[in-house]
């Protein structure tokens, strides 16, 4: 375990991370992520972090060494898209049993590796350590080394058992495994002055492909994407790239920084969420590449593409602005999205009432302030109960978050949109933001929400037969949100002939009606089963307002 703890320390000591650099020596040793608090609901473990960071490598067999728990629950749970190989989706595990735990699981792991190679012969095998074999002392490094030598295939140990810490630590340990065992072990067939690496980009719902045509048009080659739609050989030869863009700063910053140290590949942080960010990312890429020797006209060509794409996207989004302007959004997500998505929302005319900064660095927070102003509500860590309270208080019109918060939003009757890994739409790039705006629009205007917010209709009527809802709306007419008025008026009063409340109220007001019979005469209302409801309306209206028309007539 000593090598693992040394490695964790190494990962924690991240000069590329501003937050970390500010800490005292003692604090730095404690690590950068909060230890999970016993007894409170917590996120994923280090194993999960390592697995999701590497799983998008598509031509690799991902073998989980441990009892069924780890792979059984996480098998194929990543909505990454692959352009070719599908073996990444196959669930491989050693499925350790009691005997393995008593006598050690190394032999079983070795055999499992051999069987994968015999049956599938993938480009490489990533072996993930989990809590149980780590506790009993299975040395996966030794097994992987032996297997690599014996079979002549890369077998990469990913030593990130769940108990060492958080998901984020797992992301970094996975990056470390790539640095230690993969990157720089092969050479590309050829190189170009415009070769780049994308680090921390996972091609969720294929969103990388939404941006890739722009790269192709500019002649920028993605030498390697870590790890979305990634191939083993690409990442193994990624050290020949000319520049790198760090997409998710939280998960893989150590990879970007160490590649800069080792191979002199400059990197910058950027995002393709939102129009301005996409443009900035392209601009930065072009600049860095030209600095490193790419043809100078790349900058001009990039600007041309940016101008064209921006114009297109703005035009599209413009059509939504009237519908979305002034709507308030609450954003619960992490890292780069905590500032890049708000930018996108602002472009669509939405107002941001809060954004979570739980997984954001100080730099992320600084960016949020720059964009949103100083007074934006930054939520550090929000327990579901508090989230519920905030939503229930209707301080927002829509919440954008990961799938886990979905149900909190729904219970609070709040429109909700998934922007994390389980979403099924691609939001990256110029087209992605249009899609996001379209989805927000759909979510906001779904008739469901009205249904959700309304109590069961029979709760409207108090026990003594007096219509509570009517009294309330009339008594507090000024406070009734204009939005509710159409739905209140659209409520069917006569079910047999389909006459809504609005029609009946108008007739009463216009003709100064006072009896059900009169209402029957002037509207289609049947006055049978709806008799009582019409009486209620008559009573409420005679109390609340003088018949305007009668007065006018007099």
């Amino acid at each position: 375990m000593s090598s693992l703890s040394a490695r964790i320390l190494d990962v924690f000591n991240e000069p590329g991370c501003a937050k970390n650099a500010d800490k005292s020596e003692a604090d730095r040793k404690k690590g950068c992520t909060k230890q999970p608090k016993p007894g409170s609901a917590a996120g994923g473990c280090a194993f999960d972090g390592a697995k999701i960071a590497l799983q998008p490598f598509t031509d690799v067999a991902h073998l989980v060494h441990g009892p069924i728990a780890c792979e059984g629950n996480s098998w194929d749970n990543r909505g990454s898209a692959s352009s070719g190989a599908s073996i990444w989706r196959t669930g491989f595990t050693t499925d350790m049993n009691e005997t393995d735990i008593v006598f050690g699981g190394e032999k079983r792991l070795y055999k499992a590796i051999r069987e994968i190679l015999e049956k599938y012969n993938p480009a490489a095998i990533f072996v993930y350590q989990t809590c149980i074999p780590a506790m009993i002392g299975d040395d996966i490094h030794a097994v992987c080394k032996a297997a690599s030598q014996k079979f002549g295939k890369p077998v990469i140990p990913v030593n990130s058992p769940g108990f060492v810490g958080s998901k984020n630590l797992g992301n970094k340990l996975a990056g470390q495994a790539l640095l230690d065992h993969v990157i720089g072990t092969e050479e590309p067939d050829h190189t170009t002055p415009c070769d780049i690496n994308l680090i921390g980009e996972y091609n969720l719902s294929g969103e990388l492909w939404q941006v890739k045509p722009l790269f192709d048009e500019l002649g920028i080659r993605i030498l390697s994407c870590i790890s979305g739609d990634g191939k083993y050989r690409e990442v193994a030869s990624s050290h020949r790239a000319r520049a790198a863009m760090l997409v998710c700063s939280k998960s893989m910053i150590n990879v970007a920084r160490k590649m800069q140290e080792r191979y002199g590949i400059p990197f910058f942080e950027g995002s393709f969420y939102g129009i301005q960010d996409s443009s900035n990312a392209l601009r930065n890429l072009a600049r860095v590449l030209v600095e490193r020797g790419a043809p100078a006209d790349l900058i001009g060509r990039t600007e041309a593409v940016i101008a064209r794409e921006e114009a297109r996207a703005w035009a599209e989004i413009g059509s939504y602005r009237p519908r979305l302007a002034g709507k308030r959004a609450l954003l619960i997500t992490g890292g780069v999205k905590s500032w890049s998505v708000p930018a996108a929302l602002q472009e669509a005319g939405l107002e941001l009432v809060g954004t979570s900064v739980k997984k954001s660095t100080d730099e992320d927070k600084e960016r949020i302030k720059q964009r949103m102003g100083q007074d934006v509500h930054m939520i550090d860590d929000m327990a579901p109960r508090d989230m519920y309270k905030m939503l229930k208080g209707a301080k927002a019109d829509i919440m954008l978050s990961g799938g886990k918060s979905q149900f909190v939003a729904l219970k609070a009757a709040m429109p909700w949109l998934d922007i994390n890994q389980e979403r099924s739409h691609a939001y990256m790039g110029y087209l992605g933001i249009v899609k996001l705006v379209e989805e927000i629009d759909k979510a906001l205007y779904n008739p469901m929400w009205e249904q959700l917010r309304r109590p069961a209709p029979w709760d409207d009527t108090a026990r003594d037969g007096h219509p509570m809802a009517l009294a309330r709306t009339d008594g507090q007419a000024a406070e009734t949100p204009a939005l509710l008025e159409p739905s209140r008026r659209a409520k069917r009063v006569c079910l047999c002939n389909t006459v809504d409340r609005g029609t009946i109220e108008d007739a009463i007001r216009f003709h100064g009606l006072t009896s059900v019979e009169a209402v029957r005469e002037h509207t289609d209302a049947y006055g049978g089963c709806c008799r009582r409801r019409i009486q209620d309306i008559l009573r409420a209206m005679s109390v609340s307002e003088p018949p305007a028309m009668r007065q006018a007539a007099e």
């Binding site: 898209a81 692959s82 190989a85 149900f407 759909k442 469901m448 929400w449 209709p457 049978g528």
Partner: protein, 518 residues
């Protein structure tokens, strides 16, 4: 030959074999005088155009693929809902064989029904003898408690007088004098199966309430606290009626289900053949006159019946195949108001669960376009639910829908922003639907089994909700009414949506978007 005794192939596979394919190709080539395939293709494509649609909608005489059946089918359906009742259709026996097979194929249950087997001589000289012999034979052979008579076109065209015939038959001793033989004239050339349901039910109630065709005193109504419930012609009668009973019981309301055929279309297999099972007892049918009110779940199945009941002083109200939250709310509130009983917490929770389920999945239904066809009330109920979900029911077609239905549908569309581009098509058939699907495509089609050809033809995925459902089993056991029923419909729609996403993304050689989490 591909077929051999060692391993006998089913037709599903057999005729796909090369030998049969060759045989069929040869037949086509040598004997069928086949048209030029290019020409066939050209016409096929032309039949998908707006130009063809215009011609199609200008059709006056021809009905192609009608989405309706005839009156006596509805009459038989209503009649078996009474205790020990044998439906007796006066007319040609071929028709009756159709009703039996129709109901059997849908419910996967035997369907007992007899006819007076009129032949040519009866058509010439009148069917009195057939009626008299028929009543005598069926009474003696099948020992019913009641025989409910309806008619086919044949008897109607020659003008057989059921009232007189039944009277004469009783005088001739076919059945005992006080044996219940209600009747209804149900010609197929008027209305559809929903009209037949209405007529038969009205005939039965009239028989019991208005003095059994002059053989008994009329009943005096002394109002009580009970509520009558009529389901209407409903392919989901087994599930729906049981759901309605559960709701009534939960609300502690006393009720009578009129024409309760939920048991006879769902008899257990335990070694005993039940020709009759369950049903509204004849005593309850008579006492139903005293009820406080009658609720019909389907307005257009019960227009005459409700008018008749209202004429006896009861409050009557009709719903339109209540599917979804609002429709169920209205049903429960009406029940609560009439009975004076509160809606219990158990039902409020079911409501909350349905709302919750809709919210969980609404993003997938939101904005999807649907075409619906079926009986008028079912169309209305499903449309109401789809609008609630944020879907757009663009084409709603009912062969047996009328002008009033059309107007009510359009009013429903107008009440929702999602109904703005939607249209109701009364009196149109499935060939009209085909033109609609080609010229204004939708994402999903909701209809009965016959829709599978439209699905294949137009590529519009079919969600099977309606009657008849022949090619899927047991759907009729699950309710579509009430909050639970809404849940079933929601799941059915979602299943198809997800199946479609899987089908579209399950492309050989690609590995994206074919995800396990949706």
């Amino acid at each position: 030959m591909a077929q051999n005794a060692e391993h006998v192939l089913d037709h599903v596979e057999l005729f796909r074999g090369p030998e049969y394919q060759q045989m069929l190709a040869n037949k086509k080539k040598m004997f069928e005088n086949a048209r030029d395939p290019a020409e066939v293709e050209r016409i096929r494509e032309w039949s998908k155009t707006p130009e063809y649609r215009e011609k199609n909608f200008a059709r006056e005489a021809l009905t192609i693929n009608p989405a309706k059946a005839c009156q006596p089918l509805g009459a038989v359906f209503a009649s078996v809902g009474f205790e020990g009742t044998l439906p007796f259709v006066h007319g040609s026996q071929g028709c009756v064989a159709y009703y039996r097979s129709h109901l059997s194929r849908h419910f996967k249950e035997p369907s007992s029904c007899v006819s007076s087997s009129m032949t040519e001589d009866a058509a010439v000289f009148g069917g009195l003898n057939n009626m008299a012999d028929g009543l005598a034979n069926s009474y003696n052979m099948y020992k019913p408690k009641m025989i409910a008579v309806s008619t086919t076109c044949m008897a109607e065209v020659i003008g057989d007088d059921l009232n007189a015939f039944i009277k004469t038959s009783k005088e001739r001793g076919s059945v005992p004098e006080h044996f219940d033989v209600p009747f209804a004239h149900t010609p197929a050339f008027v209305g559809s199966h929903i009209t037949g349901y209405d007529n038969a039910l009205k005939g039965i109630l009239e028989h019991f309430w208005d003095g059994k065709a002059g053989t008994a005193p009329k009943l005096e109504r002394t109002p009580n606290a009970k509520i009558n419930f009529i389901g209407g012609f409903d392919g989901y009668t087994v599930g729906n009626t049981r759901e309605i009973k559960r709701i009534f019981d939960l609300m502690d309301v006393q009720y009578t289900i009129l024409a309760d055929n939920s048991d006879v279309f769902d008899t257990p297999t335990d070694g005993e053949f039940r020709m009759y099972d369950g049903g509204t007892t004849l005593e309850d049918a008579a006492k139903a006159v005293h009820a406080k009110a009658t609720i019909s779940a389907q307005q257009w199945c019960t227009e005459k019946t409700l008018a008749f009941i209202a004429g006896h002083g009861q409050e009557v109200l009709a719903f339109n195949h209540p599917v979804g939250v609002s429709a169920t709310d209205e049903l429960l509130m009406a029940l609560s108001r009439i009975s004076g009983k509160d809606i219990p917490e158990a039902l409020a929770r079911e409501r909350g669960r349905l709302v919750d389920a809709m919210a969980d999945s609404s993003a997938h239904i939101h904005g999807k376009k649907f075409a619906i066809y079926g009986d008028p009330d079912l169309c209305y109920g499903l449309t109401d639910f789809l609008l609630e979900l944020g879907a757009e029911p663009v084409h709603v077609l009912s062969t047996n829908g009328n002008k009033a239905w059309h107007d009510k549908m359009q009013a429903l569309f107008a009440s929702s922003p999602f109904g703005q581009n939607c249209h109701a098509y009364p009196g149109r058939d499935l060939w009209h639907m085909r033109s609609l699907l080609f010229t204004e495509p939708v994402d999903f089609l909701i209809g009965n089994t016959h829709g599978k050809y439209l699905e294949r033809d137009t590529g519009t995925p079919l969600i099977r909700i309606g009657f008849p459902i022949f090619d899927r089993h047991h759907h009729h056991r699950s309710p579509v009414w009430g909050y639970q029923g809404g849940m079933n419909v929601l799941v059915k729609i979602l299943d198809k949506i997800f199946d479609e996403i899987d089908r579209k993304t399950s492309v050989a050689g690609t590995d994206y978007s074919f995800d396990i989490i949706r």
